[in-house]
């Protein structure tokens, strides 16, 4: 059966660590890192990319537009 597989790319230096993408992701792909970026924010990172369906929810709510989403049928 065809399944959707997604992947996201987060521009970690431009992320402000607001966390709204974390709550928007239905499959808990994203978490805030314990590390900080150059601006001192705990940036968002994909910790469970296998669960990503490419639904774009995270990118749609990101105020800073730093998430790019890819999706393919497998």
């Amino acid at each position: 059966m065809a399944k959707l597989k997604g992947a996201i790319v987060i521009d970690k230096e431009l992320c402000k660590g607001c966390g709204v993408c974390v709550t928007a992701c239905p499959t808990e792909v994203i978490a805030l890192s314990s590390e900080v970026n150059g601006k001192g924010y705990n940036y968002a990172e994909a910790v469970n990319m296998d669960a990503c369906t490419g639904c774009t929810n995270c990118a749609v709510v990101c105020p800073d537009g730093v998430i790019t989403v890819y999706r393919m049928k497998v």
């Binding site: 992947a7 607001c18 749609v60 537009g65 998430i67």
Partner: protein, 259 residues
């Protein structure tokens, strides 16, 4: 079998489904983390890109946190004096009627100092789009009470919460402009969740389509957050907004054209 797919196989141009709009500049926005101003900018830019009207759109920026919006959207923009954006938009649209003209205004800008300009341009039915970001507070100047601050809401000038006996009642601008004959499409939306962002984007698209048909004023309120002014994390502010702002400012359409 699907387990063998790795990220490099997916991250390819042909699989791209979402990226920042090309109508956004490369400048980093100065907004606080999680602020709805940023989210709204993204969808305004996306609509302009999708309609192919980047060269034909003129935005008017307010006084408030979004005063520097012209640094972030790669379109023609004009800065207005505090609250006067609809007056400036009126002039620009009348002089250049083929352009798409919108204002982008906070609640201090639109519902306090700019109340007269807002009401009269809506009443005249100017063929413009007004985007109204209602975060219940004066964000830029340090979180003072605005006309839109809801009852009991804390702000830097109402540290114990807004007391309506002393400070008067919060003002529902969207309800008011919906009653005016000049408005064509009036709606209240939000941008705090993916579904809401998508709905608001559709509303912006509709408003620009109506403007093309010279239908009159379109007015889109976006109930939004101000994590810094509200002294909450972005995620907490969105939850607080759902629990406290939405009951007073319910989302939905106020005036929709009869198709």
């Amino acid at each position: 079998m699907t387990d063998n797919i790795n990220i490099q196989d997916i991250v390819k141009t042909e699989n791209l489904v979402h990226k920042k709009s090309s109508v956004m500049t490369e400048n980093t926005m100065h907004y606080c983390p999680g602020c709805g101003h940023g989210t709204t900018h993204q969808i305004v830019a996306e609509v302009i890109e999708e309609m192919g009207i980047q060269q034909d759109t003129i935005g008017i920026t307010p006084v408030g946190c979004s005063v520097l919006m012209y640094n972030y959207l790669d379109i023609d923009m004009q800065e207005a004096a505090h609250g006067r954006a609809p007056a400036l938009a009126t002039a620009i649209k009348r002089l250049l009627p083929e352009k798409f003209v919108f204002t982008y205004q906070g609640d201090g800008d639109l519902a306090a100092i700019g109340t007269a300009e807002t009401i009269h341009s809506c009443n005249r039915g100017e063929n413009i789009l007004i985007i109204f970001i209602n975060n219940g507070i004066y964000g830029m100047t340090g979180g003072q009470m605005a006309p839109t601050t809801i009852e009991g809401m804390k702000s830097s000038t109402t540290p114990y919460g807004r007391d309506v006996k002393l400070m008067g009642n919060p003002l529902k601008m969207t309800d008011i402009v919906a009653t005016l004959p000049g408005t064509y499409y009036v709606t209240r939306q939000s941008v705090h969740k993916p579904g809401n962002v998508r709905k608001t984007k559709k509303a912006i698209r509709k408003a620009f389509e109506y403007q093309k048909l010279n239908k009159g004023t379109c007015f889109i309120e976006i109930v939004s957050n101000c994590p810094s002014g509200w002294k909450m994390t972005p995620v907490e502010s969105n939850e607080w907004m759902e629990q406290n702002m939405f009951p007073f400012y319910p989302l939905g359409d106020f005036k929709v054209p009869e198709e």
